[in-house]
Every structure is written in structure tokens, then in C-alpha cells.
């Protein structure tokens, strides 16, 4: 928790520090610009949106400002601060930025500055008209109580994170956006992966159904044995039948089958043709079916031979 850390007030005349543990830092008006306005706004984000226009002409040009906004009774309090300038100042005063947890503004705890707070011998912080301002010590009444230091009581609830402001590639906002986007993608990929792993298991159901109906086929050895026994037989017998069917298409008007012989390895067919025209047509058909044709000398007859 940020509130458990030591709170250091920083101002231009302060001594150099050497930090060994994390601290919170409270900034004096030297490092921010304050403006109060009574505006008919309901939400802080609306006020934050118009903040740059409110400070127009008040801030140094060419610098990058951030804004803090909150509502005090009927007024909106606007603080403009230059993070680069603040970090440069902190480094100049010896702050190791990685030890700085949060930045706070003195204005946030204006009520606690009812008693002036001495900033060295020359100046003091004091609440004037509900604004924390820096005044010369000589301007204070002599009998007025002065406090010399701040403690953890001064730590407001809301602060500015310094992470991302010192040499970091990403701001907090960018970090959140990028991490959320990557995280979302990671989640989507993991969910998709999980779904794929479950879909893969569902694909086996058809095999299981078949194996329930044919339990003897659950062994790969049995399946291989059956396949090796019947596949060659099936191929060979289909070839025989296809050959016979192809030969049967070659019997047309003018062609007579005179003999046909088929065994397990080869076949031989003899066709008698009525005339040359029929013989030629038969030859064409035989070629289409890639059969070996031989003509019987001295006649129109044809012999077809082949192996299976």
C-alpha cells in the first residue's frame, strides 16, 4: 500500500537525498499549476477533458502536461503538471526514480496546511483561501505555530504513479492496453486450443461403434491379415470381370465370338468379323481398351490376348 511508505516533501531549496527504500513524494506548488473553477460538470472525466483549455495561456508552451482533477464542494480543482520536469527535478535532487512510488500534490491535503509548514529558512507552505501557496517566512506572524515536517498523515488517497514516466517505453495506460490485448489473445488461443483437443477426442466415436459391431476387428494384426488375404483376390477378380465386360462391349452386329478362354493369369478371345469395316471398328475398340490384337491371316477374324 502506498500509504505505508514514507512521504517526502520536495521543493526547490531542499537538500539532496539518498534513497534506500521506496517513498512517496509530495510536490509543492513550485512543480504544479493550480486552477479552480465552478463548472456545471458531473464527472471528473468531463472535467479532465476540458482541463487543457482552462490552462491555456497559463502554462509554458511546447511542454507536455498532465492533469489531475477533483471536486471540492461547488468548485472543480484542476492541477497541471509536467511529468518530465518533475522527474528531472527529482533526479537533480538525488531521487532514484525506481524508489519513488507515487506523486502527490500539496493541494490535495490543503486542510492540513492550516498550520504553516516551514520549507527551509526562507519560505513556508500555507493554506490561503483553500489553496496551498508558498510564502516567505517573513510574511508569517511571529506568534504563529509552524510545523517543520510532514508525516504519513499527509498522504492523500489518490496519487500519480511514477512508473512509466522515467525512461520507460510504455506509459501505464499503454501498458494496460497492450497487456490486456495480449492477455485477451492468449486467452482466446488457449480456449481454442482446448476446444481443438476436445474435438479430436470426439472423432473416435465412429470407430468405436464399428468395433462394437465387429469386435474381432479391434486387433490391427487381424485387420492386416484379412486385408492381405482378400485385397489381392478382390483386385484380381474385379480385373477379370472388367475384362469380360470390356470384351462383351466389342460384340456388335457383324462380330461373332468364336472362342473365349480365361484362367487365373491370362485370357484369349477370338472374334469372327463379317467384313473389313467391322474388323476395323473392332480394332479401334480393342485399342481403346488397350488389348493386344492380332489378325488371323487370310480372313477378317481377330484374336485378342492379354494377361491379368
Amino acid at each position: 500500500m502506498g500509504n505505508n511508505k514514507e512521504l517526502l516533501l520536495v521543493y526547490s531549496g531542499m537538500q539532496h537525498v539518498a534513497l534506500s527504500e521506496d517513498v512517496n513524494v509530495m510536490l509543492t506548488p513550485q512543480l504544479y499549476t493550480l486552477k479552480k473553477e465552478a463548472l456545471p460538470l458531473s464527472y471528473a472525466y468531463q472535467a479532465k477533458k476540458i482541463a487543457p483549455s482552462l490552462f491555456e495561456g497559463l502554462l509554458e508552451e511546447g511542454r507536455q502536461y498532465d492533469y489531475m482533477v477533483w471536486k471540492e464542494k461547488e468548485e472543480w480543482v484542476f492541477l497541471a503538471y509536467d511529468m518530465q520536469r518533475i522527474t528531472a527535478f527529482l533526479e537533480e535532487k538525488g531521487f532514484a526514480l525506481e524508489h519513488v512510488s507515487k506523486l502527490f500534490f500539496a493541494q490535495q491535503v490543503v486542510d492540513l496546511f492550516d498550520t504553516p509548514l516551514a520549507l527551509g529558512a526562507e519560505s513556508a507552505l500555507v493554506s490561503l483561501d483553500r489553496s496551498v501557496v508558498l510564502v516567505p517566512r517573513s510574511a508569517l506572524r511571529e506568534e504563529e505555530d509552524i510545523s517543520w515536517s510532514i508525516d504519513k498523515r499527509f498522504t492523500p488517497k489518490k496519487g500519480v504513479l511514477l512508473q512509466g514516466a522515467y525512461g520507460s517505453l510504455f506509459s501505464v495506460k499503454q501498458t494496460v492496453i497492450l497487456a490486456a490485448a495480449f492477455g485477451l489473445f492468449a486467452l482466446m488461443f488457449f480456449v481454442e486450443g482446448w476446444r481443438y483437443s476436445h474435438d479430436a477426442k470426439a472423432g473416435d466415436s465412429q470407430i468405436e461403434e464399428l468395433l462394437e459391431a465387429y469386435p474381432s476387428l479391434s486387433s490391427k494384426y487381424t485387420r492386416d491379415s484379412i486385408i492381405s488375404k482378400y485385397r489381392a483376390l478382390d483386385t484380381m477378380e474385379r480385373k477379370k470381370r472388367e475384362t469380360i465386360k470390356a470384351l462383351s462391349t466389342m460384340i456388335f452386329k457383324g462380330v461373332t465370338l468364336t472362342s473365349f478362354a480365361m484362367d487365373e493369369k491370362s485370357f484369349n478371345v477370338a472374334f469372327s468379323c463379317k467384313d473389313d469395316r467391322v474388323t476395323k471398328r473392332l480394332k479401334v475398340l480393342a485399342k481403346e481398351n488397350r488389348f493386344n490384337i492380332s489378325a488371323v491371316p487370310g480372313s477378317n477374324d481377330l484374336t485378342i490376348e492379354g494377361s491379368l
Binding site: E98, H99, Q163, G164, Y166, S168, L169, F170, S171, V172, Q174, T175, L178, A179, A181, F182, G183, F185, A186, L187, M188, F189, F190, E192, G193, W194, Y196, S197, D199, A200, G203, D204, Q206, I207, L210, L211, Y214, L217, R223, I226, I227, Y230, R231, L233, M236, E237, K240, R241, I244, K245, S248, T256, L257, T258, S259, F260, A261, M262, D263, E264
Partner: protein, 133 residues
Amino acid sequence: MIWKRYQNELLVLFAFVMMLAGFAYKNSQISAQLEQRSGANSSLLEIKEVIALKKIWSDKKTTQKIKKLQTLIPESKVTWRSKSKKLTASYKGLTASELNKLVMKILNLAVEIQKLEVKKTASSYDVEFKCKW
């Protein structure tokens, strides 16, 4: 405390690594699924093929179906010798139509044709058929 200086980068890096890990996990699951599907498909096809082959070539009704080759043609034209799961049949003096019918029937039987001979004698056909199943 150097990590604190770069905690934004570390957080983004961690989320990025998680995204890469998620992507790798998803891809590995896709590959595993494809592999498993391919294996399951080949097993499924193999089982279906075995079932189909057995159905055709181990049909217990084949013996009964073969007997029809005897009754298909008038008895006087048929010489029938069947023993165990082997058949030798001779057909004499078949008409072209009978020959056609007989050959079509033989072609549709799931038997191993060992010998099929057709000879034209005058206007009829003689057939020798030998098979086993």
C-alpha cells in the same frame, strides 16, 4: 530493484509471452488433432474396407447362390461337379441368350474364377467353368 524500473515492459512482455504460448498451444493442438484425425480416418477406412471385403468374399450365402448356376440352364445341358467350396461345371449347346445369362450370373458371383472357357460350335456355345470360394 531494477525490475521495478522496467515493470511496464516486463508486464507487456509477460502478456506477450503468454500470447505466444497460447498461440503455440493452439497450433500444437491443431497439429495433434490433424494427426489424430488422419490416424483415425485411416483406421476407419481400413475397418470399413475389411468389413466390405469380408462381406463380399466370406459371404456364407455364396454356396446357395452358386447353386443357381445349375438351375439357370436346362438340366440336360449341364454337367455339375461341386465339392467342398470348389465347382467345375460344363454347359453344352447353349443359345446366345443362355450364354449371356450364364456369364452375367457368373460375373455377379463373389467367386474366384479359375477357368472360364466359351467355344462356339455351329450355332451353339459350350462353356467350361471352374471356380472356388
